[in-house]
């Protein structure tokens, strides 16, 4: 517990003014929520100063009016630090993280494909997991997508 607490204190010191919420519900698990504009600065501190460089995955969730992005960093004795922020659905532009964390390249491609998040500055936002014939602009993990419509698209392609 001590170690996790230490990291929480250090995070508060390093990125204190950017934090919307920080909590550690149990040992080896930290959640950090920031604003979209300060996210990049926060990750810079985490990667460069705290040397937490392993991004295990990025998860995206459709919350209705917003899309929430959660970046899961893993380090040390299986501690997971999740840094997250929300973006409104009418402006889905986010700066890419690939220049700071090269491992983000595939996760960002996937999110672009299934949720329509546009990562500015990404070296190639090509389709990754959907079939080649999949139409542009149809995002299967959006809440407004009907299952029947997706099936129709899939059977056509």
């Amino acid at each position: 517990m001590e170690q996790t607490n230490e990291v929480v204190e250090r995070l508060k010191k390093l990125v204190g003014d950017k934090i919307v919420e920080i909590k550690s519900p149990r040992k080896r698990r930290i959640f950090l929520r920031v604003e979209k504009d300060s996210f990049r600065e926060a990750v810079k501190e985490i990667v460069n100063d705290m040397k937490i460089t392993h991004l295990s995955t990025i998860t995206g969730t459709d919350l209705g009016q917003e899309i929430e992005l959660l970046y899961h960093f893993a380090y040390g004795d299986l501690t997971v630090l999740t840094v997250g922020f929300k973006i409104p659905k009418d402006n889905l532009n986010v700066r890419t993280l690939t220049d700071l964390v090269p491992g983000a390249i595939l996760y960002e491609r996937e999110l672009h494909e299934v949720l329509g998040v546009n990562f500015e500055g990404h070296p190639g936002l090509l389709p990754l997991i959907l079939p080649e014939t999949w139409p542009e602009g149809v995002y299967p993990l959006r809440k407004e997508q009907k299952f029947e419509d997706l099936r129709k698209i899939s059977s056509k392609s």
Binding site: L130, P131, E132, P140, L150, R151, I153, S154, S157
Partner: protein, 146 residues
Amino acid sequence: MTLSWARAKSPWLIHFNTGGCNGCDIELVAALTPRFDVERFGIKLQGSPRHADILAVTGPVTAQIKDRLMRVYEQVPEPKMVVAIGACAISGAPFKDCYNVYGGIDTLLHVDAYVPGCPPKPEAIIDGLAKLIQKKKEGDVHGTDK
């Protein structure tokens, strides 16, 4: 007769995952390696479908992998056999009716043996392969060059 005898002695495998979770693949690898050792039946994993007789498929067949599966299947020389390993390969299992999943190998190809399980034990896979060999011995293979 001689041909089917010869073929039953060296059923070479090509393994293809069509979007499975890797569970069946681990069991298949266990069946191939020394602990269960299917090589005593002459079954060997090949690196290229062009050298194989049996296409061992795991996974529910996603829309993206469909064309690749067909391409690999076409490269296997005749007479070829297909074995569907695991619940996904048989019916699509939890992914059945998913918008990007075909649901089972037999929606696309003729399947000669089904090995159920999630994942099937190596013993079950060996049983399925032994039944395939029996089919081969009897000359019960589909394709033009029997």
